[in-house]
Amino acid sequence: MTHRYIKIGATATVLLLAFGTLLWSTMREGTEYFKDIDEVMTNQQEWHGKQLQLHGYVVPGSILRKPDSLDYKFKVQNSPARAGESGQVIDAWYTGIVPDTFKGEAEVVLKGRLGPDGFHTDPNGVMAKCPSKYEAKSAAAGS
C-alpha cells in the first residue's frame, strides 16, 4: 500500500514541477505590465524597452497622420480631459488601422514598448475602450 502512495506521490510531484516550470517560463514572456501613464512617466528609465500595456486618454486634437500612409503620431494623457487635470502626457507612434472609437478624448490601452522618443505601439496594439454595450456606455451617452 505504501509503495503505491509513494508512486502516486512521485508522479504528482514530477507533474506539478513540470507544470510549474512550464507555467513560469511561459508567464515570463506572456505577461505584460498594465500601467497608467503617470506611473510610467515618473520613472521612465525603469520601463524603457519593457513590454507594456499603457492606459490613458487621447489628447484632443493631437492625432496626426502622415498623408497616404497608415502612420500615426498622437499624444496620450493620464486622465480624461473633462477631469480638468490632464496628468502626464506622452507621445505615441503607431502604424496600422486604428479602431473607429480611436479619436480625441477616447480612453485607450496601447500595447507596445517605451522608447526615448515616446511610446512605440505594436501592430494592432491600439485598443480603444469599446463603446460598451452596458452600463459604461449609457453613462457616456448621458454625459
Binding site: 506572456g30 472609437t101 463603446p131 448621458g142
Partner: protein, 834 residues
Amino acid sequence: MASLGTFLLLATFVVCSYSAVISVVGARRRSRRLIESGIGAFYLVSALMTAASAVIINAFMTGDYSIKYVEHYSDSVQPLFYRITSYWGGLDGSIMFWVFLLSVFGSIAVWVNRERYRELIPYVVATISSVQMFFLYLMVAHKNPFATYLTAVPADGQGLNPLLQNVYMAIHPPSLYIGFVGMTIPFAFGIAALMTGNLDDSWLRAVRRWTMFSWLFLSFGLILGMIWAYEELGWGGYWAWDPVENAALLPWFTATAFLHSVMVQERRSMLRVWNVVLVITTFFLTIFGTFMTRSGVVQSVHAFGDDPMLAKLFTGFMVIILTFSFGLVIWRLPLLKARNELDSWVSREAAFLVNNWVLLFAALFVLFATMFPTLSEAVTGNRLTVAGPFFNKWMVPIGFILLFLTGVGPLLAWRKSTITNLRDSFLFPVGAAVVTAGTLAALGVRVWSSGLCFAMSAMVIGTIVQEFWRGGNVRRKNTGTDIITAIIGLVGRNKRRYGGYIVHLGIVLIFLGFAGNGFKKDEQVLLKPGQQATVGSYTIRNDGLKVNDDGQKQMTTAYLSVFQKGKLIDTLYPAKWAYRKHEQEPTTEVAIRRSFAEDLYIVLAFQPADLATQTATLQIVVNPLVDWIWFGFGIMALGTGIALLPERAYSFALASLPGEAGATAGTLALLLALTIAGGARLSAQAGMGPADQNIQSSYYPRTDFEKQMQHELVCTCGTCGHATIAECRKDPCSVSHEMRADLAALIDQGKTHDEIIQAFIAKHGSQEMLGAPLNQGFNRLAWLFPYLMGAGGAVAVGIAAVKWTRRSGDAPADPIHTDLALDERIDDELRDLD
C-alpha cells in the same frame, strides 16, 4: 406598470422563500401535504416570473421611459424585435431573465421527475428556490429592473447599441443563459441526492439529459458569440480570450468532463465523488462567470461596469455555495465510496479519467489566466496582464491531448484492453493518421501545430468510421439487413454512444477550423482609386468610395473588385455605418467572400479625410477553413440531438407505423423535412392575400420577373430577420414598402436583373439586401446548411423507423458469430448504454 412589476418581484421572493422552507420541513417530517404545498409554491414562482417578464416586455413595447431600465436600453425608433430583446440587453434585466428561465426549467424538471424521484424532489425544490432567492434578492434590493425616474421622465430612451442590433446578438445571450441556468438543475439533484443519502446512480439518470441539453445550448451560445464577433466586430477573428468569453467557456469544460465521467459511474460505479464534485463545480462556475462579468472584478473591454456592492453579494453567495456543497460531499463521503478500482491504465475508464483531468486542468488554467491580472494586482500591486498568445501556448497542447483522447478513448475496452484488441482497433485510425501526416509532410505543411492537428483529426475520423463500420457489420450479421440499415439501427439502439461519436466528428471539424487559423493572412493596406493590393491568391482593386444616407444611418461603402489569377471573380462592398444617436460608434459592415477552403474578409477602416481622396484603408484577411467551425457545430448539434431524443420517440415511430407502409412513411418524412426547411417561405406565402390592404399588400408582383426579384431582395428593416421583400409584410414595414416601390420603378424603366441589383447596391451602399449573394453559390449552401441538417435528420429518423418496423419481426433468432471478441464487446456495451 412599474409598481406592478416591483410588486410581482417582491411576491415572487416571498413565495420562493416559502417554497424553500416548506419543502425542507415537509421532507424532514415526511409530510406529503407540506411537500405538495412546496411544489405548488414552486410552480407559482414560474407563473409570477412569467407575469413579471410580461410586464417588462410590455413596458419595452409601449415605450414606458419612466422605467430607467427601459429608458437605458431602448428608444422609440428601435424595431419591435430589438425592443423585446432589450429585455436581456442590460444587467438588471438579464438577472430577471435568468430567474425567469430558472423557474421555468425548475418547474419542468420537477414536473417530469415528481413521481420517479419522489424522495429527491423536496430538496431539489428547496435548492432551486434558494438560488432563485439570491437572484430575486439582488433585484429587489440592488438592481431592480422596474426602478423608475421619480422626476423628469425622459421623452425617449437612449437606444440599444447598434452593435447589439443584430440577429446573432439577439439570440446569443438567451442561448448562453439557457446553458448556464440549465446547469442549476443537475446541481439541485446532486444536492438533493447528498441530502437524502440516495447516492446510488439514479440521480444521475435524472440529470443526464438536462446536462446534455444545457451543454448543447452553452455550446450554441459560444458559437453564436464567435459568429457575431467574426461578422460584426470586424477584427478578422472570432475568439480573443476575453474574460467575458472565458467566463462562458469555464462551465463548458467541466460540463463536458461530467458528460464523459458519468458513463464511468454508470458502467463501473467508479468516480462517484468526482461526478458530484463536477456537478457542483459546473454550477459554481456558472455563478462565478456571472460574477466575473458583472462586478467589474476583471478588466475587459466589454464587461459590465464596476459594481462593488454586487461583487460583495456575489462573493457571499459563492462562499455559501462552496461551503455548503463541499460540506455535504465530505459528510457523505462514506456513502460515495467507489465499488470498483481501476484495473488497468489501458482501459476505457482510464481514458475517460485522463480526459476529465485534462478538461478540468483546462478550466483551471483559463480561470487562472483570466483572473491573473486581478490576482497580480492584489498580490504585488502591479497589474500584470496576459494576452492571447499566452492562452494559445497552453490551450493548443491541451486541445491536442483532448483530440488525441477523442481518437483513442473509444478504441479501448472497458476494464482492460488486451494486446490483440489494441492491435486490431488501432491499426486503421493510426494508419489514417500516419498517411495524412506523410502526405502533409510531403506537401510541406509545417508540423506544429497545424500539421499535427490535421493528422490527429484523421485519426479521430478513422476511429469514428471504424466504430460505425464494425458496429454496423456486427448488427448486419445479427439482423441480416444491409449495412446502411444496420448502422441506422445501431445509432437508434445506442443513441448516446453513436450520437456522441457524431458530436466528436463535429469537434474534429471545429478543430480543423482552428488549425486553419495557422495559415491566416492579415494585411492592412491603403489603396487609392485604381490601386491594387495582393493578399494570398487574391488581388483587390479599389473602385472608389461612396456615401449614402437612408434616414436611419449614414453609410460609407468601398467598392472593390476582387481578382484571382487575373480574372475578376467578385465585387465586395465593405462599409461603415453611422447610426443616428450613435455617430461616435460606427458599425463595421464586413464584406466576406466565403468558401469551404477559405474566407476573404475585408474591413473598411474609414476616416472622413479619406473621402475626398477616395482612398480606401482596408484590412484584408484570408481566413482558411474558418467556416468549418460553424459546420462542425451543426454536426455537433445533430449528434447531441440524436443522443437527446427520448426513447419514446422511437417506440412511437415503431408503434404507429404499419409494417408495409414504408413508402408512404418515407414520403411523409420527406414532406415533413421539406416543410421544416421551407417553413418560413410557405407560411409567409400563405399569409399573403388580397384581403390585407395598406402597406402590407403594397406592390404585389405584377409579373413573374418582379416576383422573382422580390424574392431575391432582402428587407433591410432589421426586424424581420432578413425576410425577402416579398415576405416582409407582417408589420407595417415602410422599409420593404419602399424597396418594393423602388423595384417596381426600376422594372418600369425596363432594367434587367443585373442592372436592378447594381442599382440596389448603389443605393444601399452594401450587399445587405441581397438574399443570396448572386455569384456565391457557397454562401447559399452555408445558409441552407442548418435546414439541410434538420431535413437529413428527419429523413434518417423516418427511414430508420420504417426499416426497423419491417425487420423487427424476421430478425434471425440465432445471431451468427464470426468475430466473437468484438461481438461480445459491442453487446456488452449495447446492454448498458441507454
